[in-house]
Amino acid sequence: MIEFHLDPHSGVATYLQIVQQVKEALRLGTIDVGDQLPTVREVVADLAINPNTVAKAYRDLERDGLVVARQGRGTFVASTLAPASLRHHDALRAELERWLAAADSAGLDEESIRALISATLRETRARRVA
């Protein structure tokens, strides 16, 4: 069963974080078709967030066809991500490994790498929204 975590200061909306974590779990194979997602109650009792947020995330996932809500029984994984995205995965991963090697030889430690990635991610997102 997937367990969510929330980063309230990441600048990313809560419901989006949930959507992303579900998609990530699908990608990594942590959850598979037929697995049940935590109920809204379970999620909010754990994370202390608004139930509407979780409901919205699950609705988004359902709209994308990734999960399906069964009345009275819960929300279940309906399909994995399209293989196409997994293909991009490999290419991007290779590029990332090259970049990491470059950052490493430039003298960046793990902390600096993470900070650089978070800051850049935040700025690009902000610029996209503004």
């Binding site: 202390a48 608004n50 139930p51």
Partner: protein
């Protein structure tokens, strides 16, 4: 049409000479989790006390679930209220307190309360509970009557961060189960930022800002740029707050549209920062129409 959970019209309350609340008009959307924010003595407790009939309005009216709490106090069976300090009978044991709530409410569900009891012995005297446990007990009782509306007055006061988190967990669990509308009054925004989808900001007895959190965050922006005299900025409706330090000028603005001005860096604003800006003690003039930007004082 179902009545709004809380509906105030021109509501005002005077204590001797001072108005604790004045000219308050507010409608809370059903199913929302509303943060009632504002500094101390802004009128938050007064508003909640008026909503539960503990105070009588000096002017205007208030209705909860379509009923006046003073004229039709039976509506309070549908309202879960935890007053500031979570008042309970200190000499009662936990079990007796639950029995009290069970016997004074026609509709009662033991589930939330028994869940709460897993860590506390039911014979413990309420007076010897920690602040966090007492707050959670009061909340469990408020939720146990299956209310349609939950009103919490400064529930985090005196709670350490863990207790505060546990309180929120219990609250959100209860809300997920009952789809209740919630109003949480707190002068610490960080405590409620996590869960609120609607905000009402009170300052000095009046509503300063109100709306859906997403909409508010979407319509406000932080602009940073070199210090210069302000003309009108395309896309900016009002400047809410202006700050300068050295050569940098920082504005918090209400946007009228997309802001595409290369001389400004545009950034989103967090909820706490937004509310603090509106709470600033200086009186802010009414917004000008979008074309002209009025001169502002320094924040």
């Amino acid at each position: 049409m179902t009545p709004s959970p809380l509906d105030a019209r021109g509501l005002g309350k005077r204590f001797r000479r001072d108005w604790g609340l004045r000219d308050c008009t507010l409608t809370i959307p059903q199913g929302a989790i509303v943060g009632l924010a504002g500094p101390n003595a802004a009128g938050k407790s007064t508003l909640l006390a008026l909503a539960t009939g503990l105070l009588a309005p000096t002017e205007g009216s208030i209705e909860v679930l379509g009923k006046d709490p003073l004229r039709e106090p039976s509506v309070l069976a549908e309202v879960g209220y935890v007053a500031q300090g979570a008042p309970l009978y200190r000499s009662f044991s936990v079990a007796e307190t639950i029995e009290f709530a069970r016997r004074t409410n026609a509709r009662w569900n033991d589930e939330i309360v028994s869940h709460f009891l897993t860590r506390i012995a039911s014979e413990t005297k309420v007076g010897s509970l920690s602040a966090g446990d007492r707050a959670r007990l009061a909340l469990a009782l408020a939720l146990g009557k299956r209310p349609q509306l939950v009103l919490l007055d400064e529930p985090f006061a005196g709670l350490d961060p863990l207790a505060g988190r546990e309180f929120l967990q219990l609250l959100m669990d209860g809300v997920a189960e009952t789809s209740a509308t919630v109003v949480i009054a707190s002068h610490v925004i960080a405590d409620i930022e996590r869960v609120c989808d609607h905000i009402v900001l009170l300052t000095e007895g009046g509503i300063r800002l109100e709306g859906n959190v997403e909409d508010l965050l979407e319509s406000h922006r932080i602009l940073m740029g070199p210090r210069r005299p302000l003309g009108s900025i395309r896309g900016v409706h009002t400047v809410v707050r202006e700050r300068h330090s050295g050569r940098q000028l920082t504005l918090l603005v209400l946007a009228a549209g997309p802001i595409v001005d290369p001389s400004w860096t545009v950034d989103r604003v967090g909820l706490e920062e937004l509310l603090l800006a509106y709470m600033a003690p200086e009186r802010l003039p009414t917004p000008e129409p979008p074309e002209r930007l009025p001169l502002r004082w320094h924040g």
